[in-house]
Amino acid sequence: MANAELAQTPWLPVSAEPQRRGPWHDARLLLSPRAQSIRNRFHRLTRGGRVRLALLAALALTVGGAVFVFFYRALSYFAAVPEFGTVLTYKLLSMVFITFFSILLFSNIVTALSTFFLSRDLDRLVAAPVSARCFFYARFTETVIDSSWMMLLFAAPAFLAYGVVHSTGPGFYVMAILTLPPFLVIPAALGVTITTVLVNVFPARRTKDILVLLSVFAVALLYLLFRLLRPERLVNPEGFADFSSFLSAMQTPEWMFLPSTWATEVLFPLLGLRNGQPAYFYLLLATTAAVALMAGETVLGRLYLPGWSKAQEGRQARLTQRPLAALLLAALTAPFPPQMRLIMIKEVKTFFRDTSQWSQLILLLALVVVYVYNFSVLPLRGSPLVTFYFKNVIAFVNLALAAFVTAAVAVRFVYPSFSIEGRAFWVLKTAPVSLRRLWWAKFWVGVVPLLVLGETLVLATNTYLQVMPFMFWLAGGTLLAMVLTIVALGLAIGAAYPNFDADNAAQIAAGSGGLVYMILCLAFIGTVVVLEAWPVYVLFTSRLGGLPLSAGAWSGIITSLTAVAALNLAVFLGSVRYGLRRLEAIEM
């Protein structure tokens, strides 16, 4: 059809004058797809989706309730301690704000990286005639919401507890609500600015890797530090020997240049415990937020385009392309048929090139260290009889715990195995590879590291505990069988609940299939433990009493252990059969 003809068509304007509107209108327009998506998702919820939403809401309420109870009890206790209670109440509020501020700053740096530099819709937005200011405010709003909503879940019940315990008037609640916007804006503006500078120094994809890595390291370090500090010693009266120095440290003033201090100084006087200048500190907070926002806008205006351009750069594979790594992978996979080797090497390479995947190993290492360390500090001194009793009971409980830890790790790494193939699954589906071979490749890639993890947990702790040899080998053997089954079950449920659209493994694991898998694992581990409890008990009492086992007891033990082996075999074979069937049925 000719252009002239089209121009006459009322519903097909060839050219129209662009309608100029204010930046706020444009910013709202930029935010509208997100809001509409949320609304649409909410309106089109399936039954399963509604159940999940209700569960999430219940979980949020429970967490909020727990936070409230914690603060309520702590603050009630502080309120009952004359003089020192006020210091503690202040310190707690100050700690709440400083913790929130640090978390918000970090979370905003990470979130801004996605919202400003890596988000999929950026191509369209950057190419559109959108002013820098309206783009900044739209994305800034998204960043604040994405990075801060979780904090509100904790902050709201904490502030409510402060208000309830100190019977404040409505002024406290109003100020608490008014304090939040500037308090949230400051770390967000700082985060966006830091990210923009970082992206100009490193390409965005590297920046994301570095941040993921740093955050995982930070969490692992905090976890290790917290555990190695042995907080349980605080309940020991000996821990109060240095009380006076503790008190003096508590009374030192906070650093007055921190927004968290200003927020504390806004709210604390309103509790009626001491006087202050809330209006002055609120002004400090609000003006700093405004300045930070403007500074962020200016930095972004100048540095966004060069940073955005760098964000498009790719990167080369490093570690897994080294000849040594290739040799090691070839050697490790040597016993397997060629196609299986290929798939296994591909699995390992893609795992170690995805920072969000391999960095979880650091957390796992921290978990293993703390797990084993916990056993090394168990108070097992006492009479030999009591020690023997405790050690072997703990060793048995430890078996269940280690199996549970293995299942928890498997839900994150094994269960998503097929889904993580994503839309590239066609490569394997259309190749002349039998699904059985694919299945076993995934199985061995999952089973080896999980066996190392599980057996380390069980054997290292049992060595610490110096349990009886029977218990030592029983735990090791049972865990071996359980890990094989847990991995097979993970692959089966993973094949039954494929999710090729997920962005990452964590998202896949958080789906309904992950929940089903964990429930099945719990049931399986529970049944194994119940079946083994009796033989362990019989052997245990015979050792304690120094009596030999009767023939009846032996046959009972053998029956129980055979039942454990049969259960493992049945679940394992059932999983393989079911999983292969489901894998066959996957359509793309």
Partner: protein, 253 residues
């Protein structure tokens, strides 16, 4: 070489492919055309085992895809409509992986990989992670992977999308060369010009049914009005696209 017998796919109440039967001999370039949602991609996905047919049989090189899937797939190279690949592998690693899946020896693999990388202008990028490739580069990489084992059947879904004119021309030449060597090329496309220029026979599918099948001349002869027409006119006439003009006119009346 490709045999479809009464192939049917039903999604709930919707009949996506309706009783489709087709024979394509060796060395033929077959163009599979149809409007959006006609059932082209569904048919191709059933031909590659990505979708299970509700009814019917797919035979590739004489092998029943359902009964002998590995033997059937070994003969085929496949290029999907969207080039999703392993983003964390490099281009060279992906080609090696694809070669391994089709049991190529290391010597053969290395030679073919280097040749295909050069042919598709990817040599300079072969050690970069695929995540940094453009859409067109991914498309070329997937095409290289489909050819690495020298397939007897090449099934391609919208091969020209995202390719530059040079890439498009290269692909047309590759299809012709492959066909002259006896390879069967089954290609779905929206580019009627490409189909007209490249394909030996054309099948037009609409609402899941094959509504026209033959060489371009045979299609022209199906309707006296189209004896000298281009493929676009025949296609629009058969699929109802010509009505759009009347609809636009009608709305202004």
């Amino acid at each position: 070489m490709i045999e479809l017998r009464n192939l049917t796919k039903r999604y709930g109440q919707t009949l996506a492919v309706d009783n489709l039967s087709l024979d394509i001999p060796s060395g033929e370039i077959f163009g599979f055309l149809g409007p959006n949602g006609a059932g082209k991609t569904t048919t191709i996905r059933m031909m590659m085992g990505l979708l299970q047919p509700t009814a019917g049989i797919v035979r590739l090189g004489g092998h029943d895809l359902h009964r002998q899937p590995l033997a059937a797939k070994q003969l085929c190279g496949f290029v999907p409509d969207r080039p999703h690949v392993y983003e964390k592998l490099t281009g060279a690693e992906f080609l090696d992986f694809a070669a391994g899946l089709y049991h190529l020896s290391a010597e053969l693999r290395d030679g073919r990989r280097d040749h295909l990388l050069a042919l598709f202008d990817l040599t300079g990028w072969c050690d970069e992670l695929i995540e940094s490739y453009s859409h067109g580069m991914k498309q070329r990489l997937v095409m290289a992977a489909a050819l690495i084992h020298a397939p007897r059947i090449l099934i391609v879904d919208e091969p020209m999308v995202g390719l530059d004119p040079r890439g498009t021309r290269l692909l047309k030449q590759i299809f012709r060369t492959l066909a002259s060597e006896g390879v069967t090329v089954f290609m779905s496309t929206h580019s009627l010009e490409t189909a007209e220029e490249t394909c030996d026979r054309i099948g037009i599918i609409n609402q899941g049914r094959m509504i026209a099948l033959g060489t371009l001349d045979e299609l022209r002869r199906q309707d006296d009005r189209h004896l000298d027409s281009k493929l676009e006119t025949i296609f629009l006439s058969l699929t109802g696209g010509l009505d759009a003009h009347d609809m636009v006119g009608g709305s202004r009346a």
